[in-house]
Amino acid sequence: MTPATPSSPDLEAPRLHVAPGPHLVSGGRSTRGMMVDVLVGLAPVLAAAVLVFREWALLQLALCLVSCALFETLFARLRGRGLRGRGLRGREASLTDGSALVTGAILGLSLPWSAPWYVAVVASAVAIGIGKAAYGGLGQNVFNPAMVGRAFVMVSFASVMGAASYVRPGADLSIVTQATPLTAAKEAAGAADIPGLWPMFLGVTNGSLGETSALACLLGGVWLCWRRSAAWRIPAGVFAGAAAAAAVAVLANPASPLGVPHHLLAGSLAFGAFFIATDPVTSPLSHRGQWLFGLGIGVLVITIRMLSNYPEGVVFAVLLMNAAVPLIDRATIPEPLGGIPSADREAAS
């Protein structure tokens, strides 16, 4: 007679909830809760996108959400089989934590309204498969999955993702007959072609689906920071870094049609600052690190806008700073209360 062995080892494993102290207030935090917060925060952005781009926004977003969910299931299943044993972490848990939906929503809102269907599908597959699953799933990924997918399709399908694809002359929707503000600034360099600050703040300009309205991003972003699902220091750092770099750019070239406020409102700076850079997995842990991370993104965005062939640089700025996060984290380990200052520790060792 053998002792009764559990049929599935993970049924016996205690469910541990890992959280930083103080535990009196940490009980309610979960991955799922944070992801729901992000989806709620994205609601105003989606509303603005639907108002500006009508059915295009809904189609693109639905396509990205569905394909991200499908690829998440597929890759979780592949990994579950690879790990041996049934239902080892991944299968059910990975879809229900909502992270795939957040990736899909951010990816969908970062695509141009005119992108063909295969762009969304390929971007989702790359985001979930190469951006996340290949690293070992949520929490292990170095780069923001949605931005990995976005960068992949941006480079792969340059003809349908470039600045020209945003514009369709003679379309029913008058907004999409004009160039995006940053492309207009890059090509025409005449102040007349740049939309005013107020339309750019409200979002009645051409652009990627979720990026046009700084107001909607601000509403959703403030909600996220208030819920503490996003670290407010990161978007603050992004805006500060971008403002400083834009001031330098304006001083260096006073003839430029873009002023500092234009730079802050144009493109996907606000969307990226609040929703992309604040991904808790791929951003630094310490307060100082979050400031550094945000400032780096802001400066890089403006640098790419001004000095590269791309009109906008949020995707590459976020990916570059993602790569620097381990370094930032290592350099900004905070002193524990009552702990030995690191200088003394080094001197002692």
Partner: protein
């Protein structure tokens, strides 16, 4: 100095898959990443590398009794460099366009660790026949690796294979795959797939063995 070691047949078979230079030993990464954007340059590179590898292995094996231990690496490098220069000049004379397309990567065969490792592991210790079989086997393994990476990259990136159209016009091309990041992605994914496949085979073998032992007992 004795000439014992794996036999010629063993050396030949090991070089192709069990000890594949790229997928198993991760040697020769530079050509694997740099010239596999299309199948044709990849095959040219394989041919040049195979020529150098076979000649160097045979020559080193012939002079193995003259080698002085502390100078052997120098002798290997000079031997390899001689044959690389021959390959480079022949390519430039008869396949000028291809030679230009491959650029610095033909001279860089000199520093391909795959070749020097074969000289060190096999040719400097075993007879000419074994060294020849080893070089041919490893070259075939290199062919398998470069051809597989280049096939994936050319088909996905340009929709062609050796310049012949494979994918229909309507299928979107993933241009990233013919660019440098595509090389890393393709190699990583293929390496992962091969590791997963061999891990599964090893597991199967492990789970099969105890049963047969039990049955035999």
């Amino acid at each position: 100095m004795n000439d014992s070691g794996p036999t010629a047949a063993e050396r030949f078979v090991r070089g192709i898959l069990p000890e594949n230079p790229v997928y198993r030993q991760l040697l020769g990464m530079c050509p694997t990443l740099a010239v596999t954007a299309a199948v044709k340059p990849a095959l040219t590179m394989v041919a040049a590398t195979a020529f150098v590898l076979i000649c160097a292995n045979v020559l080193v094996s012939l002079i193995r009794r003259l080698l002085v231990p502390h100078l052997r690496i120098l002798v290997f490098t000079l031997t390899i460099a001689t044959f690389v220069t021959i390959a480079d000049r022949v390519l430039a004379a008869y396949l000028y366009e291809m030679s230009k397309a491959l650029g610095p990567y033909v001279p860089l065969i000199i520093v391909n660790c795959m070749i020097i490792s074969r000289c060190e592991v096999c040719a400097s210790k075993q007879t000419v026949g074994v060294a020849l079989a080893d070089a041919v086997g490893v070259s075939l393994g290199f062919l398998v690796a470069l051809a597989s990476v280049a096939t994936v990259r050319e088909i996905l990136g340009m929709g062609t294979w050796m310049g012949l159209p494979v994918l229909p016009e309507g299928v979107p091309r993933l241009v990233l795959f013919v660019m440098p990041p595509g090389a890393f992605l393709t190699l990583g994914l293929l390496l992962g797939a091969i590791n997963a496949w061999s891990a599964r085979r090893a597991r199967r073998r492990a789970s099969a063995t105890p049963r047969t032992v039990k049955e035999a007992a």
